[in-house]
């Protein structure tokens, strides 16, 4: 069994935008095994706080939007996920990063984790609906790019 990733890129530039999209699944797909989401703002990051502020205080992670994926078989709606750019609390109590605004794991949307799903490969198309939740803040970040990564299992 071989694992392959299908990447779909969406560019969101309008407040409260609702984007429908479809992803073709290859014929030899056995199953869809995981979903991964990443987001990158075109301009300034949305609500990313400096490490000095979040070392002791819990910070809210600003929400970019939510995504739903539907299959064309019994699974129907098989994935719902919220999209956050980075985890503002990943550096809590980590005094080694004090007063440094540097790249670290789980910041800047650099590292993501795939979420496992089990969907039969019979579905020829996966349909998705993405809803923007940034609202007016979208002008500040000058739009953003989302990558929807669908991991599939195929025969060798």
């Amino acid at each position: 069994m071989k694992e392959t990733a299908i990447i779909t890129i969406l560019n969101i530039s309008r407040a409260y935008e609702i984007r429908h999209f479809q992803v073709r699944i290859p014929r030899d797909t056995q199953s869809i095994c995981a979903i991964e989401l990443t987001v990158r703002a075109n301009g300034k990051s949305l609500g990313k706080v400096a490490p000095v502020e979040n070392i002791l205080n819990y910070q809210r992670n600003p929400l970019f939007g939510d995504l739903m994926l539907f299959s064309c078989e019994e699974g129907n709606c098989f994935y719902t996920g919220e999209l956050h750019e980075s985890d503002n609390n990943s550096l809590m109590f980590d005094f080694s990063k004090f007063e440094k605004d540097e790249f670290a794991e789980w910041t800047h949307g650099a590292k993501q984790e795939a979420e496992e799903v089990t969907v039969d490969g019979d579905t020829t198309v996966v349909m998705g609906v993405y809803r923007d939740k940034t609202g007016k803040a979208i002008t500040e970040i000058r739009g953003y790019e989302i990558k929807v990564i669908i991991w599939i299992k195929t025969k060798d």
Partner: protein, 108 residues
């Protein structure tokens, strides 16, 4: 979507989702007063919109139907989950759906 198309579409869609013919249909004709808002709990149900009316917004987890909206790149006629219907007209407006209710599977 016309009623004819909906009646052609529903059996195929239910077959695709594995429900076969385990469903019942209801025709729903909703009447909304000016600025009326209505929330329908349609978990495990499908609401197929069979009208194309301006000034009405139908929003659910599957998408949006609002002819005046510029935020969506596609209009959705098949709705599931929590459905929010809003009448943005200054007059009473009628909207029609075909409701597909999935029957429970018999357990022995």
């Amino acid at each position: 979507m016309t009623i004819e198309l909906a009646l052609e579409y529903i059996p195929r869609r239910m077959e695709e989702l594995g429900f076969g013919n385990r469903y019942t249909l209801r025709f729903r004709h909703l009447v909304l007063q000016p600025s009326d808002k209505l929330t329908i709990d349609a978990q495990s149900q499908f609401f197929i919109l069979v009208d194309q009316i301006s000034g009405i917004s139908v929003e659910s987890q599957t998408g949006l139907f609002d002819l005046s909206s510029s935020s969506a790149n596609e209009m959705q006629y098949e709705h599931q989950g929590i459905i929010n219907i809003r009448n943005m007209n200054g007059r009473t407006t009628h909207i029609r759906f075909i409701q597909v209710i999935i029957k429970h599977e018999k357990t022995t």
